[in-house]
Amino acid sequence: MSPIFTNASDYVAHRVFSQRVDVGGVTTWEVVDKWATGRVVASHDTKEAAQEMVGALREQRLAEVQEAHQ
């Protein structure tokens, strides 16, 4: 079950992602950044908006991870 990360992209993808939240018939999409304090860093009304933010965050975190390992 535990994933073995063979590259930095997979590692980052496991730590920055969106999640669907359903409350009383209303759906929102949260963005999680495991590097951030509190981890849930934003909430969006649409999946697309959340995924767009996830994409940008992953690029940022991937660059940081790669820089840290150089």
């Binding site: 079950m1 999640q19 669907r20 939240v21 359903d22 409350v23 981890r39």
Partner: protein, 155 residues
Amino acid sequence: MSGYVYQDQDLVEPISDSVGEQWGNAALYNVLNVTGGSCALTYSASALTVDLAAGTITHYGSTVTVAAAPAGFTLVPDITNPLWTWLCISSTGTPVTVTGTASATPAVPEYGDRVPVALVYVQAGLTIANDASYKLEKRIAGFSGFNVGQMWAQE
């Protein structure tokens, strides 16, 4: 209410950081009177819904009454990949379903500022809630009660 909220080192599944954080924050976030049936879950045998029984929780140190919510949770499976889902209760006693991203090795989502009741592994194409591969229920009792229950019980 004020205090420090414990945050665990990030880990990978199935023992995720979220699981560890439940131990650390057990005094602030828990279900009271678990052994009395408080906030018990009933997984549908014909649909993707999960019933929530009435009960009482502690949310960030405050006691909150939870009303029964038939079909209060609905699992949202993916067609091709599995995912993890938290069944939680909000600060107002409302059921909250937090569905993670589907993947061959899915990450456990964050339950956030809510009281987690169960972590469910939803396999691809699931159609009946009770058939979910793993239903890890939180069974820790509040410290204001006497029943320190089993924290995780796999059904």
